[in-house]
C-alpha cells in the first residue's frame, strides 16, 4: 500500500527514466494513483486561486468557479490521453491507453507537491519575495512537462525526436477533436431544433 501509493510516485518524479520503465514493464502503476493525482491537481488549482496570498493573487474572487476549474484541468487531461493514444497507435507506439493515462497522471505529482507549500508560503511573502513564488510555480510546470516527455518516451519506446513530434501532433489532434466536437454538438442542436419544429408543426396543424 505505502509502497505503491507513496514511495513509488515519489521515486518516479526523481528517477523518471527508471521508474516509468518499471511502471510499464513491472506493471507497478496504479490507475487510482493517476486519478488521485489529477483530482489533487484540480484541488491545488482551486486552492491557489482562493487562498494564495494577496500579493500574488490577481484573481477577481467573484469569478472563481470550481466547476469551471475542474473542467479546465480534467478535460485537457483526458483529451491529451485520447489524442496521444490516437496518434501513437498510428505511429508504432507501444503504449496502451492505460499506460498513457498512468504516465500523464503520475507526471502531475510535482505540481501538487510544489503548489501546496507555495500557497501557504505566499501568504507570508512581501512584494520582493513573490519572485520565488513565480519561480517555483514555473519549476512545477517545467518538471511536469519534463516528466510527461520522459513518460511518453518510455511508455511508447520512442526516440527523443519522435517523442517531440508525437507530442506536437497530439496537441494538434486535441485541437481537431475540440473542433469536431463543437461541430457535432452544433449539428446535433440543429437536428434537435429541426425535429422539435416538425413536432410543433404537427401538433398545431391537427
Amino acid at each position: 500500500m505505502k509502497q505503491d501509493f507513496i514511495k513509488f510516485p515519489l521515486h518516479l518524479i526523481f528517477h523518471p527514466i527508471d521508474a516509468f520503465w518499471d511502471l510499464k514493464s513491472d506493471n507497478r502503476g496504479r490507475l487510482l494513483v493517476a486519478f488521485a493525482a489529477l483530482a489533487l491537481t484540480i484541488v491545488m488549482m482551486i486552492l491557489q486561486k482562493q487562498y494564495a496570498g494577496f500579493l500574488v493573487n490577481y484573481i477577481d474572487p467573484r469569478t472563481i468557479n470550481s466547476i469551471i476549474e475542474i473542467a479546465t484541468v480534467a478535460v485537457p487531461f483526458f483529451l491529451w490521453c485520447t489524442a496521444n493514444w490516437a496518434v501513437t497507435t498510428l505511429m508504432e507506439g507501444e503504449g496502451k491507453f492505460r499506460e498513457i493515462v498512468l504516465a500523464t497522471g503520475y507526471s502531475l505529482i510535482p505540481i501538487i507537491l510544489i503548489y501546496a507549500p507555495m500557497i501557504l508560503i505566499s501568504r507570508f511573502m512581501v512584494q520582493e519575495e513573490t519572485a520565488f513564488y513565480y519561480l517555483f510555480n514555473s519549476i512545477a510546470f517545467f518538471w511536469f512537462v519534463l516528466l510527461l516527455f520522459i513518460g511518453m518516451m518510455t511508455v511508447h519506446q520512442y526516440t527523443v525526436i519522435r517523442t517531440i513530434i508525437t507530442m506536437v501532433l497530439t496537441l494538434i489532434v486535441m485541437g481537431i477533436i475540440v473542433f469536431l466536437g463543437a461541430l457535432v454538438f452544433s449539428m446535433l442542436q440543429q437536428l434537435y431544433e429541426f425535429g422539435y419544429n416538425i413536432y410543433r408543426e404537427l401538433i398545431f396543424r391537427t
Partner: protein, 488 residues
Amino acid sequence: MARTVKRWLVLLAAVSLLLVNAVPAAASPAPYESYNYNYWKEAVPSPDAYLPERTISGRDLGISEFKDPGDVNVSPSGLIYILDSGNSRIVVLDPGFKLLRVIDGFMMEGTTETFNLPGGLFVDEEERIYVADTGNSRVVVLDGEGTLIQTITKPESDILSTQFQFQPLKLTVDHVGRVYVVAQGVYEGIMQFDESGKFIGYVGTNKVERDYGEYIWRMLSTKAQRAQMVLFVPTEFSNADIDHKGFVYATNIDPGSNEPIKRLNPSGEDVLKRFGYYDVKGDIRFRNNPGPSKLIDVKVLGDGMYSVLDATQNRVFTYDDEGHLLYIYGGKGNQVGTLKTPVAIEQSGEHHLVLDRGKNNLVVYEPTRFGARVNEAVALHYRGEDTEAVNIWREVLKLNANYDIAYIGIGKSLLMEKKNEEALGYFELGMDRKSYSVAFKRHRREMMKEHFGTFLTAAIALIVILILTRVAVKWRRRRQVDREAGFH
C-alpha cells in the same frame, strides 16, 4: 360582505397608485448618473460629486446672448473672464456672477482694433488678459481695463518655415510672464514665448504611437501606394494650464493615446504621476461608438488635483496628483447640468464652471457633501496631513463604501502610526498591493521579533524530543535483539 371587500380593495389600489406617484422616482437630483471605476475596471455607481447649481447666459447678465463662446478663465483675484468669440468680446464677471464690464476692443496705434474669432484667454496675477486672437494671428495682452500692453505676432525664427501660419488657439502664462501657446497645425509641441514676446522654442512634443500592423502594411506597399497613405505625425495639443509650481498641464485629443494628459517640466518632459489602477485618460471602458475620451481642456485645481473635460461624453474627470480618478460628473443632454458642446472648464472658489458652446452658457457646478469631503481629504493628504485626512476619509466611506482611495488613504495613515496590522486590512480593501507589501513587511518583522524566542524554544524542544525518541527506539530494538539472543 364581498362587495365591501371589493370596494376596499379598489380604494386600496387607488391609494397605492397615488402614493407611488407621490414619491419622486429618482433619488438623485442630478440629470446625469455619476460613476467611478473600481479596481477591476468596471464602472460602478457613485454618489454625485458635483451638482449643477445654475447656468449663466448673456441674457441673464443683461447683455446680448453669447455667440460661440470659446474660453473662460478665472483670475487669481476671483474675477471670471468669458471669451465670447462669436461676438469678439470679453465679458468680465465678479465672483458673484454679476457683470462688471465688457471688453470688445482695444486701442492700438491710434486705431480701434477688435478681435477676430479668438480661441482662448488667460488672466495672470496682475489681472493682465492674454487673448489668443486666432483670426488675426496674434496674441493680445491687455491690462485689466482693456488697454493694450503688447501683442505677440508671428515669431521670426530659424526653426520655423517661411509658410508658417501662426494661429494661436489656447494659451497659458507662468508667473514670470512666459507665454505657452497651443497653435493650430503645430505638432512640434507647445510654443513658448518670453515675457517680451520673443519666441523661445517648443516644449513637450507628443510622441507618435507606433502601430506595428500599419508598419508591416507599409513595408508591403509599393512606393506609389505609400505616397497615398496618411503621414504619421504627432498629434497637436488641445489645451494647456499651469500649476503654481510652473508645470504646464497639457491635453491632446489623440484617440489612440494612453497618455493624453501631460504634465511638462521646464525641459519639456512629461512628469505626470500615473500611480492609479489604470491610465489617466478619461473613460477607460467604452464601446467603439462613441469611443475613447477626447480631452479638450484641463484645469489645475490646486493641491495636486486637476480636472479634464471630455468632449466625447461631455463629462468632467478629476484626478489627484498620483493619478487616481476621484470622481466623474456631467453628461450629454439638454437639461441644466448636462452639456451640449463643452469647450472649457474653470474653477471659481468651490465651484466648477463649464462653458457650453452649444447652449451658449456657462454652467456652474457646486460640490456635494461627498465631492467636498473628497476634495478636502485629497488636499490634506497632498499636504502630508494624513492623520487629519483619516476622519474625512471615514466620512467619505459612509457616503460611498466603494471608494477605494479612501481605504488606501486610511491605510497609509495607519501605516504612518505604525498600526501595521490594521493597515493591512485597509490596503486589501483598496487593492493597493505596493503599500500592502510595505505594511506586511513591517508587521512580519514585528511578529518575528515578538515571537522569535517562543519559536526557538519550541524548535529546540522538538529537536530534543525527536532525538530522544530515536534513541529510545534504538535502545528498545537492541534490547529485543539481545533478548532474542538470550542475553537477559
